[in-house]
């Protein structure tokens, strides 16, 4: 069995039973190298989100293996997979998934509280992250007072709390205009270049192509194409 940093080996995922069974992924093997930004593309229903769910330890395959930081995680218990998520993985969602009752600062501080409960000065660290993303004047604003681009930057700051090595992003620019989208692409690219994180982006957005090290195209639950870009 290969020992991948991040990836799946022979993964098959299906939903439903017997005649109603639908395959989301069929015998997919993919490896994502550390310190790279990989773009996963494909039409709706091709299995992109299912792949991301597996890489994020939110879903186990019917068959095959999932590796995170070199460890096969699909044999782990729910509690153990939670620890893997807590320490290694972070998510950026299309609809931001910010906590609507918390300010930008508290949203990011909550990220620290979850990932690094023992850490002190969580609020100061959260402030530093938001300052890095140009949100110094929005610290105390609630998500509904922020633009879509600002929300996504807060969500990325929250995702980076606790310094996770792996960042999984699901359509992170789908809800954004051109400028905000480009800004998010640059931020995630800089996480690879400056911090050595491994970023996997699932997107239909062609803007990502020039920021990705590799493009994987899925179709009907199978890998249709893999292209190295940079």
């Amino acid at each position: 069995m290969p020992n991948l940093f991040l990836g799946v080996e022979g993964a098959t995922v299906s939903f439903g039973q017997e005649d109603a069974r639908v395959y989301a992924l069929r015998d997919v093997s993919l490896s994502f190298e550390p310190g790279t930004l990989s773009l996963v593309m494909g039409p709706s229903g091709s299995g992109k989100t299912t792949l991301l769910s597996m890489l994020g330890c939110l879903l186990s395959p019917d068959e095959g293996s999932v590796f995170v930081d070199g460890v096969a995680v699909n044999g782990l218990s729910e509690a153990e997979r939670t620890v893997v998520r807590q320490k290694k993985i972070s998510f950026v969602f299309q609809v931001f998934r910010l906590f609507h009752s918390l300010s930008a600062l508290d949203n990011v501080a909550l990220g620290f509280e979850i990932r690094d409960p023992a850490a002190s000065r969580r609020t100061e660290k959260a402030r530093d992250l938001l300052l890095q993303f140009g949100l110094g004047d929005k610290l105390h604003q609630e998500p509904n007072e922020l633009s879509a681009g600002e929300k996504q930057r807060v969500a990325i700051a929250r995702a980076l709390a606790g310094n996770p090595p792996i960042l999984l992003a699901d359509e992170p620019t789908a809800s954004l205009d051109a400028e905000a989208g480009r800004n998010i692409c640059q931020i995630l690219r800089s996480q690879v270049d400056e911090h050595g994180r491994t970023v996997v982006v699932v997107s239909h957005d062609p803007r990502w192509e020039k920021f990705a090290d590799r493009i994987v195209t899925l179709c009907d639950g199978c890998v249709e194409e893999e292209v190295g870009v940079l």
Binding site: S90, F99, I114
Partner: protein, 372 residues
């Protein structure tokens, strides 16, 4: 825990609805509980007011209000049983009362010997400097309007006998729908037309050196034609009669049980709905790597904050409501333990409902967080 608190403060509309739900449930449970507790208390109030250890009643008497006369020898025979130190008599009958202005109405007349107990409302007792005459008649303050007495003492008629109403008492208001009048035993049998050796209830005190159960057994053997009950047994029998065997009691019991259950359902449903509203947030927490205990703590904190605030508001609303209700229903009563007994299960249901709902959050389908 900031998230729990902020979630509550942020959506004040939802918070208000949740708190109102809990508040209503606690109000309902305590109010209905007070009706039942008061009804049970009133059903055996005069029995409980006696200090006697044993009550002798005619065979089959179910409640104080429905006694029949005993044979005259019963008292003498009971007094002769070893361990019996003192006997007293009580009678009760419906009588016609004529108000000072000549209006007639039915009353429940109760007469008792002074030996039946200090709490039993009997007039000829060494109570205070302003001694009452032994033949004085007393009534409860809550029945003042029905008695139509403007000043005390007042001269009235009971069963066509002249009587003196001399004082108002408290805590013995109408339970049967007609006012109680209390007087001495001697006076009462005169108004009722009983013979001087007749009684409805014989009350006995037992020497502390004798077990009450042993004396009770001896009395049962010696007096097989009557019922010999300890005070608590007769009180329990009366409460069961009024609660189970009468329509009014059954309705109050049913209402109290339903009130309790509805209260619990309202609390659970309210908290459950509130938790489910935030389900996506809990799924996000989980996706971000929050342990189950972290998510559960947030959900429980939110539920308990709503539960505690709702319960406090419910209690604040129900206390004046019960006080007001006392003017209409004199026997309603909220024992000191009742609010606690209702709030504790409410908070337990808050926790239970939130735990049930948090299970949905903890087992949420992973793809949910990716959906737009």
């Amino acid at each position: 825990m900031k998230l729990a608190l902020q979630n509550i403060l942020h959506d004040r509309g939802r918070f208000s609805v949740t708190v109102f739900g809990v508040c209503f449930a606690v109000f309902l449970m305590v109010f209905q509980g007070s009706l039942l507790a008061g009804f049970l208390q009133a059903a055996s109030k005069l029995i409980d007011a006696s200090d006697s250890d044993i009550w002798i009643t005619a065979r089959g008497v179910q409640a104080f209000e429905f006694g029949t006369t005993l044979e005259s020898h019963v008292r003498e025979m009971a007094a002769g049983v070893p361990g019996v130190t003192e006997t007293g008599r009580v009678c009760m009958a419906f009588a016609v009362y004529r108000t000072p202005i000549g209006k007639q109405q039915v009353v429940a007349l109760v007469g008792a010997d002074p030996t039946v107990g200090n709490r039993f409302p009997v007039p000829d007792r060494h109570e205070s400097a302003d001694q009452l005459s032994p033949d004085a008649v007393l009534y409860d303050v809550s029945d003042r309007k029905q008695m139509e007495v403007d000043t005390l003492p007042a001269e009235v008629e009971i069963n066509r006998h002249r009587a003196n109403i001399e004082r108002e008492i408290q805590g013995y208001g109408a339970f049967l729908g007609v006012p109680f009048l209390f007087t001495s035993y001697r006076n009462a049998i005169r108004y009722m037309g009983f013979g001087s050796d007749q009684a409805m209830y014989i009350l006995l005190r037992v020497d502390k050196a004798y077990p009450v159960s042993q004396v009770q057994q001896s009395l049962k053997q010696r007096l097989p034609e009557v019922d010999v009950l300890t005070r608590d047994e007769f009180a329990h029998k009366a409460r069961m009669y009024w609660t189970i065997k009468t329509g009014a009691g059954g309705a109050i019991l049913t209402a109290a049980v339903l009130g309790f259950l509805i209260g619990l359902v309202v609390v659970s449903q309210t908290i459950y709905a509130n938790t489910m509203e935030n389900l996506e947030e809990y799924a996000t927490l989980k996706a971000l790597g929050a342990p189950q205990a972290f998510v559960a703590r947030i959900v429980l904190t939110q539920a308990l904050i709503c539960g505690v605030i709702g319960s406090v508001l419910g209690l604040l609303a129900v206390v004046p409501s019960i006080t007001y209700a006392k003017s209409l229903i004199p026997w309603i009563s909220a024992p000191w333990w009742l609010p606690g007994a209702m709030v504790a299960p409410s908070l337990a249901m808050c926790s239970l409902a939130s735990i049930v709902s948090v299970r949905s959050a903890l087992t949420v389908e992973p793809g949910r967080v990716f959906r737009a």
